[in-house]
Symmetry: C2
Subunit: 403 residues, 2 copies
Amino acid sequence: MSLQLGELRVPRRILMGPGPTEVNPRVLRAMSLPVLGHLDPAFLEIMNQVTAMLRAVFQTQNELTLAVSGTGTAGMEATLFNLIEPGDEVLVAVKGYFGDRMCQMAERAGAKLTRLDTEWGTVFEPERIGAALKTMAKPKLVAIVHAETSTGALQPIEEIARLAHEAGALFLIDCVTSLGGTPVLIDEWKVDAAYSGTQKCLGSPPGLSPVTFSPRAVEVIRNRKTPPQSWYLDMGLIARYWGGDRVYHHTAPINAIYGCHEALRLALDEGLSVRFARHLRNHHALVAGVEAMGLTLHASANRLPMLNTIRIPTGLDDMRIRGRLLNEFGIEIAGGLGALKGRILRVGIMGYSSNPHNVTLFLAALEHILASEGVKIPRGAALASAHEVYTQAAASVSDHSGK
Amino acid sequence: MSLQLGELRVPRRILMGPGPTEVNPRVLRAMSLPVLGHLDPAFLEIMNQVTAMLRAVFQTQNELTLAVSGTGTAGMEATLFNLIEPGDEVLVAVKGYFGDRMCQMAERAGAKLTRLDTEWGTVFEPERIGAALKTMAKPKLVAIVHAETSTGALQPIEEIARLAHEAGALFLIDCVTSLGGTPVLIDEWKVDAAYSGTQKCLGSPPGLSPVTFSPRAVEVIRNRKTPPQSWYLDMGLIARYWGGDRVYHHTAPINAIYGCHEALRLALDEGLSVRFARHLRNHHALVAGVEAMGLTLHASANRLPMLNTIRIPTGLDDMRIRGRLLNEFGIEIAGGLGALKGRILRVGIMGYSSNPHNVTLFLAALEHILASEGVKIPRGAALASAHEVYTQAAASVSDHSGK
C-alpha cells in the first residue's frame, strides 16, 4: 500500500445497524473542540457534568457512575471483573449473543458459572431464574442483557432483580442498546450494576461505556479479597480519578468525553420520555411497513423499539440483500449473529438515526430490492402503512424538525 | 448540579504536560467526520491504512500491528496479558512510575515477577539485566519502558533486547511517549512487542493505543494454554477483526481512528527524521533556556527530547508554580509522580505541541513567575539562549510554518 494518502474521506451512509448510529452534527462539533489535559480543572468540571447527566439517563442516584474508557464490551468486562472473584457463583441468563459473551468473561474471571439458556428471540420467565438460584449454594451475581441486540427482544427486569436479591446476589444488567431509547430504571428496578455504550441510543460515537454501581455493589468491590484481574478497568482505581480525589489512573479520552457530554445534553434537552416515545413511534412505523410487505419480525413479543429483527424470506441471501442496501442505497443494516446468522436482518433505529427519514428510506429501498429479487410485494403498501403511523401520531413534523 | 447545561466550552490552553498534547486542527476535523459502521468496507479500508501507517512509524514489518480501543494503559495491559500466562517468569526493569505499573499488571496476570529497580532519572546498564536473567530458570518476558515519562530518561534498547533473546525470553517495550518523537526501531532492535498512545508525539487525542507484536510473539499468543484474562484485550480475538477475517469483536471507536489516521498521515508527510529533528531542536532550545535561568534538569544523561524534567528550586512550591502557569498564562505542565512528587516539573514538547511558540511562551512565563516568587534570575537570558538555538538551527521559520 502506498502511504501517500490523501485527506480522509468517508462515504455518505444511513446507519441503521445495531450501532454505531449516526450522530447529531452538534456532537461531532463538540468532539472537535481543542484537547484539554485530563487533570485540567475545566475538564474535571466537564467530567462532573457527564457524571450528573449519566445519573439522569440511568435514572439513578448511584455515586459511582462514570464513563469507562473503552467501548461497551469494556463496560461488560469492567462490571463483571470488578464484581466477581475466583470461585464466586455467578448466574448468567443467556438469550442471545451478548449473554453468551458475558459467560465467556465470567469464566475468565474465575466464576463458578451457572448458565441458563432460552431460545434466541424470547425472554426469560423470572421463575426459571428463581428456580436456578435455589440450586446454587451462595450466588454472588445474577447477570442478564436488558435489550438483546442480537435478537431484538427486551427483557423485563424488575422481578428478576427481586429474585436475585432474595437469593443474596447482586444484579447486573447490560443496557448497551436500551439506554436512552427505552426506560432503564436503575434505582426503581434495584439494579446493582449496569453498563452501556455511547454509540447506540445515546447518540454519540463509539468509544465510551457508561457504567453505574449501587452502594451495595461498591461495598462488594471495596471488600474484595483479591484485586480485579484488570488494572485498566479496576473500578477502585478509576473511581479515585472520576471521584473527588482526582488521582491519575490513565489519560481519559478527552474528545470522546466531549462528544458524550453533548449527546447527553441533547438527550436530556429532548427529554427522556419524549425520546422514548420517538423511538417507539419510529419502531411502530417500521413494523407497520415491514408487515405490510408481508415480512415477519423474529421477536414475537417484548420487541425492542430500537432494534428490529426481520426474518429473511425463504430463498433470499442475507449478504446479497445487505450488499444491495449498502451499495445501491448507502444504507447500512446488519445480519444475524450466531444462531441467527443468515436468517434475519437487524435494523436499528437508534438515537439520531431514529427518525422518519431513515424509516421511510429503508422501507422504500427494501421494497425495491425484494421486488427486484422476485419477492411478491404489494407495491407502495409499506410506505403507506408507515406514513399512517406518523400521521396518526401527528408527529412527523416535530420529528423532522427535531435537531 | 443543574442539568440545564449550555453547549460545551473549553478554555484556551497551551498543553505542555506529559500528554495529552495539542493536536493539529486537521486531526480534530478528521474526528468530526460522520460515523461509519465498524464493518463498513470503507471503514475497513481506513483500518488497513492505519495499520500500514502504524507499521511505518513503528518501523516494523510486523503483521499484527493495530490500535487497541483504549488509552496507553490498555495497550500496556494488552501486551502483558497476552504474553503472560500464570506462573511465567517475567523480568520488569523499573526506572520510574510506568515501570512500576507494568509490575502491578504482570502480577495481576499471575507472573512470577523479577523486579529490578534503578534510581528514577537514570537508565539501566544492560549488564544488570543480563545478570538478573541468569538467576531466572526460564524467563518468558523482559519488559522495560523506553521513554519514562515520569523521569525524562530515555533507555537504550538494543543491547537489552539481545540479552533477553539470548536468555530465551520475549522482549517488550513501552514506547508511549517516544513513538513519533524519537526513533523507535522495532525490527532493527528486535523488539517482540510494543505499545504506545496516540496522545503524545503522534499528535492525536487520547483514546487509542497502537501496539505491535513480532511473529515470535504471535506464535507465543497462538500457543497459549489458557485464554488471556481479558476478553476485551484478547489479541487473538482482536486480530481476527483487524486482520483479514473481519470477525466482529467490539465496536471500534470510529472517530478516534479517523483522528489517528490523520495524525499518522501528517507524521509521515512531515517525515519521521524531520519530525525527530524538530523534537530535538525544541528540546535543545528549552534546555538552553531553562539552564540560562540557572535551573537544572533531573535526568542528567539520556534525556528525552519530548519530556523535560526540571528540578524545582529549593523553597518553591510545585502546586503554586503550576497553578500560576495555568491560571495566569493558560499553560499546562505537570508535576512529579511517585518518588519525584513536589521535586520536579515535567514539561512536554510533543507532537503538535513541539514548536518554538510553546517553548518561548513557557520560558517567558516561567521566568516571570520564578522572578516574582523571589528567585534570582538573569532576566531575558532564557529567551536569548533558546532563540540562539533556533537561529543556529536556522529552522525557526520552517517550524513556524509547519502546519
